[in-house]
């Protein structure tokens, strides 16, 4: 029995030792973050008011958001972060300017993590904004996809009369869900585009009153005639029409609604905005004539595709629109596949969405709509425009053109 007693004692001791290492920890590893702010190239004389600095870190893995005031004492759990900063700076003329910075995929690990953030100046440009984009489309009663209902709404967000002549809708060349490291990277100076449709006019032909909206439809008809789930877009101000050489893929032209002028489109058939929302859309004043544009604003790029089948050097060609021409840009993506922003953060530092995954079947009948910032005394709604569509837009919103009686 003595042998057995000893064995039992040894077993108990081994068991206790085995579990001695099974200790819980109350905290996780954190990292002190040191940020260096780099002034904009054209404003080296600015003095940053550090008290006004607000920083937001979004943990890419967990989607948790951490907010800080000032640059000191930023401590974060280890991880990969997107960082968004807003600050104020004083220039030599004692003017206060708003500065922003945006950086993606900051690897914050170890005891101290040091990063540089390039600031850009934001001026609250008042003008046209994209009020709404409906790109997801609708379904038929049989549950099939129905095309032609897409539309854009453009609003005069000022208290002045503006003219929409030469204002163009641009679709990005690339998608936000795939980045093959396209070279050259021109985002700091221009947006690469694959489709440009412009409002025709000679400068003062398309007046838009303060607070008024232009509806620009794919096919400006009452779609309810063909599909009970469709919208009535017959009252649109403009539609885009493509003269397709393919007899099987034809556009419909409503002669009562003026067409946009097609500057360029990657497809020879008909243009439909990406209905899963992978692309960005911009609103730009085209400042040269069509011929000049098509001659001088070509964007040629190269990239390398790394696939399981091998590595393939590729080239591509599209067009670019200078950043200064843009009145507004909206990045779109989906959460499960988002990889990068297609434009410079000064145009849009965020992104909005309809649907959370690729081929999300809940995305139909939803749009992205800009939020209302405030309403003036005379009842004019001013839309939120901070150049960050993550905050500026209502994601997966009810489309404004959806018939009121539709219960969705």
């Amino acid at each position: 029995m003595k042998v057995i007693q000893n064995i039992i004692i040894i077993a108990i001791v081994i068991a206790i030792l085995s579990f001695a290492g099974c200790r819980e920890k109350d905290t996780i590893q954190t990292t002190k973050v040191s940020l260096t702010l780099l002034l904009p190239d054209n404003a080296k004389d600015l003095k940053i008011l550090e008290d006004s600095t607000r920083i937001e870190f979004k943990n890419v893995s967990t989607a948790k958001i951490f907010q800080f005031k000032g640059l000191g004492n930023i401590i974060l759990p280890e991880g990969l972060y997107d960082c968004f900063l807003v600050s104020k700076g004083v220039c030599e003329e004692n003017k206060i300017k708003t500065l922003k910075a945006y950086a993606q995929s900051l690897s914050i690990i170890g005891e101290i993590s040091e990063h540089e953030l390039k600031l850009f100046e934001t001026t609250e440009v008042e003008g046209f904004v994209i009020e709404e984009i409906f790109f997801t489309g609708v379904l038929t009663p049989q549950g099939k996809q129905y095309y032609g209902c897409s539309y854009f709404k453009i609003k005069n967000n000022t208290d002045k009369l503006l003219y929409a002549d030469s204002l163009a809708i641009c679709e990005s060349q690339f998608v936000s869900t795939t980045n093959w490291d396209y070279q050259p990277d021109i985002r700091s100076e221009a947006m690469s585009v694959c489709a440009i449709y412009m409002i025709p006019g000679n400068g003062k032909d398309v007046p838009v009153q303060p607070g008024e909206t232009l509806l620009i439809a794919d096919i400006a008809i009452d779609h309810r005639q063909a599909n009970p789930n469709g919208y009535d877009l017959s009252g649109a101000d403009f539609e885009w029409y493509d003269d397709s050489p393919n007899p099987r893929i034809q556009d419909i032209d409503n002669p009562l609604v003026p067409n946009l002028e097609k500057i360029y489109c990657y497809t020879l058939t008909i243009w439909v905005p990406h209905n899963r929302g992978f692309r960005s859309y911009g609103l730009a004043k085209i400042k040269v004539d069509k011929e000049t544009y098509l001659r001088d604003y070509i964007y040629e790029y190269s990239y390398t595709m790394n696939l399981p089948q091998g590595t393939f050097p590729m080239t591509g060609k599209g067009y670019k629109v200078p950043n200064e021409w843009f009145e507004d840009v909206v990045n779109c993506s989906i959460e499960s596949k988002y990889v990068w922003n297609l434009v410079d953060p000064s145009l849009d530092a965020g992104w909005t969405y309809c649907g959370k995954i690729d081929h999300d079947k809940t995305r139909y009948d939803k749009s992205v709509r800009r939020k209302i910032a405030y309403t003036t005394r005379d009842g004019r709604e001013v839309l939120l425009d901070t150049n960050n569509s993550t905050y500026d837009f209502e994601h997966e919103a009810r489309p404004s053109m959806m018939p009121e009686e539709t219960n969705k």
């Binding site: 064995i7 996780i28 280890e78 990969l80 690990i109 995954i357 081929h359 079947k361 809940t362």
Partner: protein, 494 residues
């Protein structure tokens, strides 16, 4: 000596079953699971074929991820076969065909083993499950020494034929070896070790032409790995396990019987859709022991006491990745975010008394203390409960001519004395939280219930018997939830 060969006379199958169904025998079942002790499980060669049908219905799922009950049909075969020269071979095989009723937020098989790193969606629906188990063992006694080995295999296929369509394939193998030494012809001391491999391959498909619904990779306590939600529908679990146990069993089945068992399971969850990204790692340490004392008063009244403490500790590690480069995610850090501590011990006494030769009564009151705590570090989340479970088991066995009747009733009352749920920083998707709170209601609720099982054995001759067993189970809790279950077994012993 291998025990079964000590029998001077061949017992009838019903006589052997009379012994097997005794409480005295049943309380020592955990000890017999060791390869070096299994020879004490029975004195007779026997084979069993059993068909089982059982259906369990939950008014509301106790654990949403496990569904509202299970409809199960299974076939079990087992054999225990002493061979010449102090050898013993035994084996089991079973096939289970189940329908798991409407699990939600879980498309992963072996939920309890792999939690918190499971994958789910908001739709769920009935899951069809087919499981195959095979166990084969061999033991040989050479003088005072026993050497033994065992091999376990479990194959599981779970799927659904409408969207979302998970298809999970599990292969779970374990190999055991053990050595025993008989001390003073009384105490058989056994040392068993095992090593195993676990793999579950899972994929969720959608056939709808309109698209899919998001798939979530959960990390515990209503949290998901936000970065990888959506359409990463192919993943697998790759695990290893090992264990060691030390056991001491009295050859005459009287006195103390003790075992200590330590096991370790280490499993990684890998997302195939992201180029074999190792999302998380789960480690589970488990310690179990059984301490049993059995004796007899005047060689008639069997009695005993026992306790079975068990402690387990789970650590969940999440890996953190940088941006993908050439479609490969580089791991930049890892963090231990999830901990689960689970402890319980029961203590029981039993008495078993043959009122007359043909009638046996037994009673087994028991009390169990349990403690369970799950934690998620950041954001802080906690689920915890502790309390008592009081049980009372009453059994009766009666032999008449060629028939053996066995009636067993079991009552229990679970009363948590302390429970808590803290969920800080809720997810955008409130449905996770709602499910967690609903689970917690059942987890923290007082619960009572019981079961009654009646078995009737009919012996055609000494070597062949058939039996029919019916069992009904009823459980309710103060969260207004009820479980009704019944099972029917038809078996043949020979």
């Amino acid at each position: 000596m291998i025990n079964a060969q000590n029998s001077d006379t061949i017992q009838s199958v019903n006589q052997a079953e009379w012994q097997r169904t005794s409480v005295k025998h049943e309380v020592a079942a955990p000890l017999y699971s060791h390869t070096t002790q299994i020879r004490y499980a029975d004195n007779n060669r026997f084979s069993k074929v059993e068909l089982q049908y059982d259906d369990q219905k939950e008014k509301q799922a106790h654990i949403a991820q496990l569904g509202k009950g299970v409809l199960n049909r299974e076939v079990n075969l087992s054999g225990f076969n002493p061979l010449p020269n102090n050898q013993l071979a035994w084996g089991k095989a079973s096939y289970k065909n189940k329908i798991i009723k409407k699990p939600l937020w879980n498309e992963t098989s072996d939920f309890r083993l792999l939690y918190p790193y499971i994958t789910g969606d908001s739709i769920g629906g009935d899951i069809r499950s087919e499981q195959y188990n095979f166990t084969g063992g061999y033991a040989r006694q050479i003088k005072q020494w026993t050497v033994a080995t065992r091999f376990d295999y479990r194959g599981l296929l779970e799927y659904r034929n409408i969207d979302p369509r998970p298809k999970n394939t599990v292969n779970d193998v374990k190999a055991f070896v053990g050595a025993g030494y008989l001390i003073n012809n009384k105490w058989n001391m056994g040392l068993d070790v095992y090593a195993g491999k676990y793999k579950q391959t899972a994929n969720i498909a959608y056939f709808s032409e309109l698209g899919a619904t998001p798939v979530y990779h959960f990390v515990g306590l209503a949290r998901q790995y936000a970065r990888f939600f959506g359409d990463k529908t192919s993943y697998y679990y790759d695990g290893n396990n090992m264990g060691v146990s030390l056991s001491i069993y009295p050859a005459d089945a009287k006195g103390m019987a003790i075992d200590f068992d330590y096991s370790f399971f280490d499993c990684r969850k890998i997302i195939l859709s992201l180029n074999k990204l190792p999302m998380s790692r789960l480690k589970n340490y488990q310690f179990r022991s059984n301490l049993i004392f059995r004796s007899a008063f005047n060689n008639k009244l069997d009695y005993g006491v026992g306790a079975s403490p068990q402690y387990s500790f789970k650590v969940g590690q999440e890996n953190i990745f940088g941006d993908p480069i050439m479609n490969e995610y580089r791991q930049i850090a890892s963090v231990n975010q999830y901990y689960e501590t689970d402890f319980y011990t029961d203590a029981f006494v039993f008495v078993e008394y043959p009122v007359v030769d043909k009638l046996r009564l037994s009673a087994k009151p028991a009390v169990t203390y349990f403690y369970n705590k799950e934690r998620y570090i950041l954001p802080k989340r906690l689920k915890q409960r502790q309390g008592w479970n009081k049980q009372f088991q009453l059994a009766l066995a009666y032999k008449k001519n060629k028939t053996l009747y066995s009636l067993k009733t079991d009552l229990f009352f679970i009363s948590p004395t302390k429970s808590a749920l803290i969920l800080e920083e809720l997810e955008d998707d409130v449905r996770f939280e709602k499910t967690e709170r609903q689970n917690f209601q059942n987890y923290a609720a007082k619960q009572s219930g019981g079961s009654a099982a009646l078995s009737v054995y009919y012996e055609f001759n000494k070597l062949f018997s058939t039996y029919l067993k019916g069992e009904y189970t009823y459980i309710q809790n103060d969260a207004q939830n009820k479980i009704n279950g019944y099972s029917l077994n038809l078996g043949f012993l020979f």
